[in-house]
């Protein structure tokens, strides 16, 4: 009971970041919150698998990654089209220019291949180290690095304005 209480309290604190990560990988507000819900349900039923002292954010991102990959496969099997991407969910008192940039970045991110977007979500958005992200994705560091590099290159090509 006590570890579960602890897990619950930590999960509650992580909710905003879980939603952000889900937004990056699903590209869609409704899908993102559904993914968070599924992942929370999974996490709560196997809370005993979380090792106290280890990073709960990485643990949750791993559960979300797997749940999302399952979901994509299921959708392909059902031959359902992806829900349309939906950018611009960003709120806040930003300037119009900042909002424009955020929306172009989100749109460019949405067009990246799944594996590159996942790598960028973990490292650049959620701040995991290359090592932690590679472990979580079950890939060698070199593969993670090249996915990050290719993803970034594609984004910079689209955004372009800071280029040489």
């Amino acid at each position: 009971m006590t570890p579960t209480d602890d897990v619950r309290a930590q999960l509650a604190g992580l909710l905003p970041r879980l939603r952000r990560f889900a937004r990056v990988i699903t590209r869609n507000v409704a899908d993102a919150d559904d993914l968070v819900q599924v992942a929370l349900e999974k996490a709560l039923t196997r809370a005993d698998q979380w090792r106290p002292g280890s990073r709960m954010d990485s643990w949750m991102f791993g559960i979300m990654k797997n749940a999302w990959i399952d979901e994509i496969r299921a959708r392909r099997r059902r031959e359902r089209v992806h829900a349309p991407e939906e950018a611009g969910a960003t709120v806040g008192d930003r300037s119009a220019a900042a909002r424009d940039i955020a929306m172009s970045v989100q749109a460019a991110m949405a067009r990246l291949p799944e594996d590159q977007r996942m790598a960028i979500a973990l490292v650049l958005v959620e701040g995991l180290s290359y090592k932690d992200a590679a472990e979580l994705l079950g890939i060698p560091m070199g593969t993670l690095t090249s996915r990050l590099a290719r993803g970034r290159e594609a984004l910079q090509a689209v955004l372009g304005r800071d280029g040489r």
């Binding site: 937004r23 919150d33 819900q37 969910a89 900042a98 955020a102 910079q156």
Partner: protein, 251 residues
Amino acid sequence: MTVQLSDETLMAYADGELDLVARAEIEAAMARDPEVARAVERHRAAAAQIRGAYDGVLAEPVPGRLAALVAQPIAAPIVDLAERREARQPAAVRTRLPAWAAMAASLAVGVFVGILSTREPVAPYAGVDGVLVARGELDAALDSQLASGAVDATGVRIGLSFKDRDGDYCRTFHLQQEVSVAGLACRSGEDWHLQVLAAEPAREGELRPAAAMPVAVLHAVDAVIDGEPLDAAAEAAARDRHWQNAPEVAE
């Protein structure tokens, strides 16, 4: 320049991933070659732009269904406390609490109850039939304490007292314990039913101004208050009537 630095290496440097030796090598290259420095700067700028594009999500209110999932099982009835209360009232009279305020509150309750239940032998409130009821020192303070602005020995400080739209008395309070919270309690018979609990915005030892009330509590007050808060005389009179309605109001 003898070593050709790959773009991946520059990216790893910009992301703070390289060890000391490799960092020194890149920094030397950056000093020699402005093109290398510009490439690193481009990587940094791109990283900041990508991160910034999703910052807004963190500020969004968390949907209630997600907050409810991680709230304590025993807190499950608490989550829709405001709704339950509303359900008992004629709908026309009530302004609905903004959904996000209820979410923020339920999230805070979940976290708070979680912390409290492990550390506090005597909880200042208890769940009774799906409603949180003030107990012990909190109950006593709500009954007897006037809004002096001071924290009493039990760590309870009363804020506003007012009547809600059903004519029941409500009082805001601060509870200073290991975890400081603020909340709104409304009289129901001989009990105080907690409507909202939220973590205090700041944690400093000194007294905060009475206005430093978590947003979730303020919104809960706005949603139920009828007219103005009680002044000191009305507050004292209401206390002396044990927070029951005065006969002339009831008639």
